[in-house]
């Protein structure tokens, strides 16, 4: 989102900001074309993320920019220098790389590993200069690895090791930094920590390009995203423009819901199971197959989150006349229902269901052949008890539970009533919900 280079927070100690421009880059391994005429440009002080499905060419594009892979056509220029025409010493002063995994199975002290980042700046025979030492210390501080400096690299944890490799790249003091899946092997805490450090570097005017697997993190930290698919650029732009249900369906062939994250406000992507578009996986679910004796069966879904969204998608795709609710706005299931144009009882986020919502629920449960309870959360409140009451009136129940009940159900009386309902329900997983609905319908025709 920054078009102008920002002033350097280190008082000029950092490198000059640089532009990365990729023009018509094509790359192939033998007969296999990996990149086809990819063009893009990254402004100084910008954080651009490469996203896309496996095999889309994220890493290959990154390696073409770093100079590790020579494109069969096209050019990569960093501040008007073609990285493929200059020596590795020269290019390594322009661009530093944090690889996905580094073989570090030998016991160099952490400080020595970071010091290797100074290699392009040092002459063969001179000892490290004050500049070198200062750059190493700054990089250690910045990545919060200073306290590990004297530990052998093979004795620190995976998350710390990733930060050490980042420190090495920072010590290289290049205007451009490339990161290949910087968070792939990290736990959530370290992912955020690493990306916060990267964000600080960007604020100092460094240009950062990263291949990022995790779409939510990409949306949250990158200024712009480049969505790659089949070796070409599909969409470029701010995260909110790139990560939409449509673009994800086209590139990932995924059935995904994009909702704003309630905390950060950035896009959150929730992948949902495939419906009929992927028949083998969903178990012979052809449209209309769930119909029973020519009549379309109906189901009402009570619940929230991705479990409810998955159940909803599966039933809708199989031709079941499905409704959902009460469902708070902003929930993945709400977003999914809206996209599938399913009848839903919508409730404002964090608001109590109104009397008319309750009446609507009773009516839907009564009208539906089957009521599906998907990861239902009920508290020991009046609203919760009222919700259970409606469910108790349902003639046929299917329970789909993925989150443990103790996280969702509160209060002894509520729990007992919930368990009584489950007793007479058919239990299912999001994948097998259709079979469960059919089973309950068969049970009805037998009686």
């Amino acid at each position: 989102m920054t078009d102008t280079p920002r002033p350097d927070a280190n008082g000029g100690a950092g490198p000059e900001p640089a532009t990365v421009s990729v023009e018509d880059v094509s790359l192939s391994f033998g007969d296999l074309s990996v990149l086809e005429a990819v063009s893009l440009s990254v402004e100084p002080g910008e954080f651009v993320g490469f996203v896309g499905p496996n095999g889309a060419g994220k890493t290959s594009l990154l390696r073409s920019i770093s100079g590790a892979l020579e494109p069969s056509a096209g050019t990569v220029e960093i501040s008007d220098t073609n990285v493929h025409d200059v020596s590795s010493r020269r290019s390594s002063r322009l661009v530093a790389v944090v690889p996905q995994d580094t073989s570090l199975s030998f016991s160099f002290p952490v400080r020595d590993v970071v010091e290797m980042g100074r290699h392009p700046h040092r002459s063969r025979f001179s000892p490290p200069s004050d500049d070198d030492r200062a750059a190493v210390e700054r990089a250690l501080e910045r990545t919060r690895t200073a306290e590990l400096a004297d530990r052998p690299i093979d004795e620190v944890s995976g998350g710390q090791r990733q930060r050490v490799v980042l420190a090495r790249a920072i010590a290289q003091e290049t205007p451009v930094l490339l990161l290949d899946e910087p968070t792939a092997s990290l736990d959530i805490n370290h992912q955020i920590e690493t990306l916060e450090v990267v964000r600080e570097l960007v604020a100092d005017g460094r240009t950062v390009v990263a291949a990022i697997h995790d779409l939510d993190l990409a949306a949250r930290y990158c200024d712009r995203l480049v969505l790659l698919a089949d070796g070409t650029v599909h969409t470029v732009g701010p995260p909110s423009a790139v990560l939409t249900t449509e673009t994800l369906a086209e590139t990932f062939e995924a059935n995904a819901a994009v909702t704003p994250n309630p905390v950060t406000g950035t896009a959150t992507v929730t992948a949902l199971p495939h419906g009929t578009s992927d028949g083998a996986e969903s178990g012979r679910a052809e449209p209309g197959e769930a119909t029973d004796g020519g009549r379309t069966p109906s189901a009402h879904v009570v619940g929230t989150g991705s479990t409810a969204a998955g159940v909803l998608t599966r039933l809708e795709r199989a031709g079941v006349d499905v409704s959902i609710g009460p469902i708070p706005g902003g929930d993945v299931a709400d977003e999914t229902a809206r996209r599938l144009e399913v009848d839903r009882i919508a409730v404002e986020p964090f608001a109590r269901p109104s009397a008319s919502d309750r009446a609507a629920l009773d009516e839907r449960v009564r009208g539906a052949d089957v009521t599906v309870v998907a990861d239902l959360a009920v508290g020991a409140t009046e609203d919760g008890r009222r919700l259970l009451e409606s469910i108790e009136t349902a003639e046929r129940l299917v329970f789909v539970e993925r989150r443990p009940p103790e996280e969702r159900i509160d209060g002894n009386d509520v729990r007992r009533r919930y368990e009584d309902c489950r007793e007479r329900a058919v239990e299912a997983t999001p994948e097998s919900v259709l079979e469960a609905v059919r089973a309950t319908l068969r049970r009805r025709s037998e009686t």
């Binding site: 390696r63 002063r93 030998f106 020595d112 290797m116 392009p120 000892p127």
Partner: protein
């Protein structure tokens, strides 16, 4: 401790060990000589050039002219009082052998450390790309079929065989300006197998020379002369010094070739240089001493255990430790009840020690 200081103190310490081992070794043998006498005789052998003499003359072939040739004149620096027999035994018999052992050990251990780092493989040793097999083929050819070998000397024949093999393996493994390490390793194995067949064939048809050829292949320092030292020392010394100058590149290469490229190392050029130098150093060693196994494998492992994986300290210390190791093992080889080729002693001592380290889980991959 700061690394440069640490490197210097380790190097100095190992130099002292080498001198001590040298003196003890020169004292041992069929004739026991007091170590102080050994020290004096050794110092007596130190000569420096004092001027140029033109007394010697040579005849230019074909023309019949006799021209004076200028030559350096040497004078001894020290004049300690040492019995003549002891002076001869120390300076002309034992010292050349001891110095040669240290040069060969120095060369093989340094080359072994470089190869283990280069291949990122703990099993790598100086002969991994076929240098030793090439030397053996050259040497056996020179012993068994002297008429067929154009270069008169055994050393030269082994040296050229070693370098030619290294070059051939490199050429086979290189394609489009890149030399993948794995291909290099496989090409080395294949060429070694082929040379093994050639050597066996030559041995079968070597007749009376069989014994000499087999002893050469076991690695020995018997009958070493100062001229052998003169042959191997320049290559070994200069080669190892230049390799030490590339220690930082070797460290960075341990991260993998792509990372090394991103850190400013010209990967293919550096690989060629490291291979060429370590092959040269190894070739110089095996040409004068035959195939001495285990020095290049065990010594770098032990030093890595003691000083760590940083090649800036590992290379010089491995070289010096290798020198002491080979002097010590050769002393056992020659001063025991019956002289045996030193290659037998290095393997017989080195292998169990290596296994001991392995069982203790002290030896890891590079």
């Amino acid at each position: 401790m700061m690394r440069p200081v640490r490197t210097l103190s380790w190097t100095a310490g190992l130099l002292v060990v080498l001198i001590a081992v040298t003196i003890v070794s020169a004292a041992l043998g069929p004739v026991r000589i007091d170590p102080t006498v050994v020290a004096k005789a050794t110092l007596n052998a130190v000569i420096v050039p004092s001027g140029i003499v033109t007394e010697s003359a040579t005849t230019i072939p074909g023309l019949g002219w006799t021209v004076p040739v200028p030559a350096l004149e040497y004078v001894p620096v020290f004049g300690f009082d040492v019995p003549d027999t002891h002076q001869t035994i120390v300076a002309d018999i034992r010292l050349p052998r001891i110095v040669l052992a240290s040069v060969v050990g120095f060369a093989l251990a340094a080359a072994g450390a470089v190869m283990q780092g280069f291949f990122r493989n703990p099993l790598a040793d100086p002969s991994i790309i076929g240098v030793s097999s090439g030397a053996a083929a050259g040497a056996v050819a020179a012993i068994a079929f002297p008429a067929l070998v154009p270069f008169g000397s055994l050393h030269l024949s082994a040296f050229i065989g070693a370098l030619a093999t290294a070059f051939l393996v490199y050429a086979i493994a290189t394609e489009g300006g890149k030399t993948p390490v794995a291909t290099l390793l496989l090409a080395g194995v294949a060429i070694q197998a082929f040379l093994g067949a050639m050597i066996s064939y030559m041995l079968v048809h070597s007749g009376d020379d069989l014994r000499q050829a087999v002893i050469w292949m076991m690695g020995h320092l018997h009958n070493s002369t100062w001229s052998d030292v003169g042959f191997a020392l320049p290559f070994a010394f200069v080669g190892v010094i230049v390799l030490c100058a590339y220690a930082r590149e070797l460290n960075v290469l341990l991260l993998g070739e792509e990372d090394a490229h991103h850190l400013g190392v010209d990967v293919e050029r550096t690989k060629l240089l490291l291979l060429a130098l370590s092959s040269l150093v190894t070739a110089a060693g095996v040409a004068v001493a035959g195939v001495i196994g285990f020095v290049g494998l065990v010594v770098p492992h032990i030093m890595r255990l003691i000083v760590g994986p940083d090649h800036r300290i590992l290379l010089p210390t491995s070289a010096l430790a290798g020198a002491s190791f080979l002097v010590a093992t050769d002393t056992i080889a020659r001063a025991g009840p019956a002289e045996v080729p030193v290659g037998i002693v290095t393997a017989a001592l080195g292998a169990p020690f290596f296994l001991f380290l392995l069982v203790r889980r002290e030896v890891h991959s590079v």
